[in-house]
């Protein structure tokens, strides 16, 4: 049976009507229309669906939308501030840290959460932190360089 819930995404409140089994990734993508969050595997392994819940990285493909009520959800669309790219986004562009771009929103959100917790993460910590995000295009090398450049500041 559908119920009305309010989800706070990127500081905006969205009222949606969902069945209890509806996944957060689908509500964000289809109901709210923010398609930057991707579905790559639907089993929580690839990280393409990463969003932040109260600042913490979670797999939106493995979360009921109703469990996200009352939390601050941040998607890739919420990373820019006042029309300016986040330093991580800018670094990714400058360092060539993406290719096809499909994993990129998830990687950026995971990196953002990582640096929020550990602003001066070392290369080893960055590698480990990226371990839950799969990429098939880049070999991760330039992602690590980009994140390092932001962590180093």
């Amino acid at each position: 049976m559908k119920r009305k819930i309010v989800l706070n995404v990127n500081n905006d409140n969205y009222e949606v009507e969902v069945e209890p089994g509806r996944l957060l990734a689908d509500v964000i993508r289809e109901d709210i229309g923010l398609t930057g969050t991707k579905k790559g595997c639907e089993i929580g392994v690839c990280g393409a669906c990463t969003v932040l819940l109260d600042g913490k990285a979670v797999s939106s493909c493995l979360m009921l939308a109703v469990h996200a009520v009352g939390k601050k959800i941040t998607t890739i669309e919420g990373l820019m501030k006042n029309g300016e790219l986040d330093p991580l986004q800018k670094a990714f562009v400058d360092y060539g840290a993406f290719q096809c771009g499909f994993c990129t929103p998830g990687v950026l959100m995971a990196s953002k959460a990582m640096l929020n917790e550990n602003p001066h993460a070392t290369e080893h910590e960055i590698r480990e932190g990226l371990n839950g995000n799969l990429c098939r295009c880049t070999g991760y090398a330039k992602m690590i360089d980009a994140i390092k450049s932001v962590a180093g500041r």
Binding site: P20, A57, V58
Partner: protein
Amino acid sequence: MSRDFELLEPKTVKEACAMLSKHRDQAKVIAGGLSLLLFMREGLFKPRFLVSLMKIKGLDYIKHDAKKGLRIGALATHRSIENSKVVKAKYPVLAETFHRVGSMRIRNVGTIGGNLCHADPRLDPPPTLLALDAKVKVVGPKGTRSIRLEDFLTNYYETVIRPNEILTEVSVPSQPPRTGGAYVRFSTKTNDDTPAVELAAVVTLDPKKEVLADVRIGLGALAPTAVRAKKAEAFLKGKRPEEDVLKEAGMIASQEVEPIGDLRGSEEYKKEMVGVMLKRGIQAAFEKAKA
């Protein structure tokens, strides 16, 4: 995924048990939801009711005192345990183990209660919890039960929990002085792969710090549940961790498990790796205990 279920959101454990009593086989408990949603997606569970524990307050604590030891509320996330100051200080091997669970995303959402009740023998925390003599507290309409973890886990995805019970707490006794632990996770493919061997070694040394006065070894991914290598433990007790001693202990431990041959290794290979990881685990735990 089944859309035909109702989500119930009790505010207390008592309320949750009552709902489970009412709906019995038609209901499943959901906490973080990671394992449950995966199974529902595969069509392995088709519950008509999901009893969500996420509105129950006060079940995510991590407490420690010298007498009662460590007590962790069932809804504590892997991440909170990994980062907990008291866990890092008093049970560093547990913090290390929880650090290895899945990815950051999994650790932010997955709960220790959900992990233990899902009872997948390939998950990381159980071997270490077993090696630390963990107990679980299970609450039902008829009262509370305290069950040793090794009695709690019975088979693949099976525990002794009754359909109307909720696991509320995991406790680990205080560890004696001169105790050290190590968690070894050996995967044959990538670092995040399900391991071929999980081994937790917790040793307590004699006052001279030369002999293994007490040894506890938890093994995972090698049997229908995580298990203790009791025969290997008995063999090692009272001995020095020398090369030949550890080698024989490894062979004994490898006979205590029944690994399944798969893409991560054949049965023979995995058994051999039990021996290698036992040696490395005991050596590392020994060093930690000496410090």
